[in-house]
């Protein structure tokens, strides 16, 4: 029979000094979120939803494959349409962001609403802060978890789509031509990731129950565009629309990709059938994108700043993180 030494043994290893101290929080948070918990029905639903959320990206990949590789089974006339669409293919990026944003909102609620709320409810904050972590590291860690999910469903698919285009395009100078698209892709999707992540964390920090946090955030994102649009048109103040998170983010994309310019170009240059198809896409990309670039950028910055302010001030008021003169 084996005999095990169960007495306490000193650890002779060395503690790492990580440049990004929040890395273990992110790694554990993502792993935990993806772990199978809560019964088979819930797991199956989540997996099903995740599969469904990949559909827009998969469809665009398929379209790009058809566009670049032109397989034999396609009718030859289609190729002529592809050639006409080529100058406008940049529109696929904001379109994909917009399609994915519907799934993102659900992901934000599922994975983000409990991130701080659960720690607050269980009082786990002192456990984090009794380790070599600052409050900033804690917030960064939580931001990293939700940011990872947000990026996986907006930034990464867009970047992969861009990469596919660059690698598959047989034209000379394809890379140079596609390079300017990288900036709006990163800026718009980066803004989506940042604003969605920070706002859901802010709501999570003020609630102790994830369900309430989810409901509040969902109402904020879904109801605000309709409300601000209505109020804006009623009062004749166009800037009011920029208060809405989604309006600001979609407007940012609209201006960054110069959708208005592309639309004018399509109106004057494209054939009737092609123009008809493009108009539909342009109109879809234009919905809830009524702010000016300045209004949109200001709104994005304000949402980020206000969310950070809420998170930090709420957490600093917790019993564990008090400084002289603050309680």
């Amino acid at each position: 029979m084996p005999v095990y030494d169960r007495s306490y043994r000193r650890w002779d290893g060395t503690l790492k000094r990580r440049a990004f101290r929040a890395a273990p929080i992110v790694a554990m948070g993502v792993k935990n979120a993806l772990a199978t918990k809560g019964g088979w029905l819930l797991t199956l639903s989540l997996r099903g939803f995740m599969a469904a959320s990949c559909v827009p990206t998969a469809l665009l990949f398929l379209l790009n494959y058809l566009f670049y590789f032109r397989p034999n089974f396609l009718p030859v006339e289609t190729f002529a349409i592809f050639d006409q669409l080529a100058p406008y293919r940049v529109i696929q990026y904001p379109a994909l962001t917009r399609l994915n944003s519907m799934f993102l909102m659900v992901y934000a609620v599922i994975f983000g609403s409990g991130l701080i709320a659960r720690d607050r409810a269980s009082g786990a904050l002192p456990l984090y802060l009794s380790r070599p972590l600052t409050l900033g590291d804690y917030v960064l860690g939580k931001l990293g978890i939700i940011g990872w999910f947000m990026a996986m469903f907006t930034l990464v698919p867009n970047l992969l789509l861009w990469l596919m285009g660059v690698l598959s395009d047989p034209a000379d100078g394809a890379f140079t031509a596609a390079l300017p698209h990288l900036v709006p892709i990163i800026v718009q999707n980066g803004a989506v990731v940042l604003v969605y992540s920070l706002t859901i964390l802010a709501v999570s920090s003020i609630c102790r129950r994830p369900m309430f946090a989810g409901l509040i955030w969902f109402s904020l994102v879904i109801l605000l565009p309709s409300f601000t649009s209505m109020a804006g048109s009623h009062r004749g103040v166009s800037a009011l629309a920029a208060v809405s998170i989604n309006d600001a983010l979609f407007s940012l994309g609209y201006h960054l990709y110069d959708i208005g310019g592309l639309f004018e170009k399509a109106t004057s240059e494209a054939d009737g059938a092609v123009r008809g198809n493009l108009e539909g896409v342009f109109e879809a990309v234009k919905i809830f994108a009524s702010s000016t670039p300045l209004q949109a950028a200001t709104s994005v910055l304000c949402w980020c700043g206000a969310s950070l302010l809420v998170i930090v001030s709420v957490l600093r008021r917790q019993d564990v993180v008090v400084e002289a003169g603050t309680r």
Partner: protein
């Protein structure tokens, strides 16, 4: 005013030996002031307890938890200096936290994880490499007596299991100083003894310094060699438990008297002795507090001089509880 942080990367000092084994104080407080808004919790505390197992005693609101939070750098002092393991706090709070294990009072664990994940996670955020943290988590869970339960979700744990997980999480990175806030809360008698024995072994056999805050004086007496007694944020007593007990015990003697002792007791009171009946039903057994500087034999001599027969004369052995109550009484009692 600020000390230079020792430049060592490991959890131990450069020589490899844990600091706790040295005779240097684990932490030094110099006129520490802690206040929350206008409420001053610690008005100016100065102490430097030696390495080893130190008990932190005091009634509710004495400032015990605030002191622990200050040592961890979670509460910024309103004045004075705090040095922990040679590091100035809060300036080098992160360095201190790398070397300190903290077991909070509440039954709090990282939610949504298994017991094992909790401990490994605690190690990882302390800076341990992932694989090492997992290996070490098994080791400390074994030590605190967590068997297969370690793979269950912590949300399903009993209070006792949570205490074990908390202790394992505090130990996972092998700290030099272990801060324990009411570690036996919610434990059954068997579990309590088990945990106390583990903690005692850490302090006495493994050279780890321990600061144990508890309202259970038996726990402190079992684990610690030294105590700090706080009341209203002020240090009312500090020293080794044996010394403190001897000091209180040396002030009292138990006398069993025979015959009419009324006259003798009157004279004794006049001379500054304080006799009282511990048991009102037994009028022969007296507990006499000696005046400052008087030898225990003085009361015996007085009894003989007054013709009273003393059947039993026992200098009293004090418990930590008596030290605690006596000190608080001298300090004007708990608020």
């Amino acid at each position: 005013m600020t000390a230079t942080a020792p430049a060592n990367d490991s959890a131990h000092d450069p020589a490899g030996a844990p600091l706790a084994s040295s005779s240097a104080p684990v932490f030094e407080l110099d006129s520490l002031v802690v206040r929350y808004g206008r409420n001053v919790v610690i008005p100016g505390l100065t102490c430097a307890p030696p390495a080893g197992a130190v008990g932190l005693l005091g009634p509710n609101g004495a400032g015990k938890s605030s002191l622990i939070k200050t040592i961890l750098g979670l509460v910024k002092p309103g004045g004075g200096r705090v040095k922990v393991l040679g590091f100035e706090v809060p300036r080098h709070a992160l360095e201190v936290r790398r070397r300190v294990g903290y077991m909070p009072e509440s039954a709090v664990v990282f939610p949504g994880m298994t017991g094992f994940e909790n401990v490994a996670y605690a190690g990882a955020i302390a800076g341990m490499p992932r694989g090492e943290a997992r290996r070490r988590a098994h080791e400390v869970l074994e030590y605190v007596g967590c068997g297969e339960e370690r793979y269950r979700q912590v949300d399903e744990y009993s209070q006792g299991m949570r205490q074990r997980i908390k202790l394992a999480s505090a130990l996972v990175h092998d700290p030099e100083l272990l801060l324990l806030d009411e570690p036996t809360n919610g434990l059954d008698p068997g579990g309590r003894t088990e945990i106390l024995e583990l903690v005692r072994a850490l302090g006495h056999e493994k050279g780890m310094s321990i600061l144990l805050s508890s309202h259970l004086l038996d726990d402190v007496e079992f684990v610690c060699d030294h105590v700090l007694l706080l009341a209203r944020g002020e240090l009312k007593a500090a020293g080794s438990i044996a010394e403190l007990k001897a000091r209180v015990a040396g002030q009292h003697v138990r006398l069993t008297l025979e015959g009419d002792s009324a006259r003798f007791l009157e004279v004794a009171r006049e001379k500054g002795f304080e006799p009282r009946l511990p048991d009102p039903l037994d009028t022969s057994e007296w507990l006499v507090k000696l005046p400052e500087g008087a030898a225990p034999g003085a009361i015996l001599a007085l009894a003989l001089a007054n013709g009273v027969r003393v059947r039993r004369f026992v200098p009293r052995r004090a418990s930590l509880e008596e030290v605690f109550l006596d000190t608080l009484e001298q300090a004007g009692g708990p608020r």
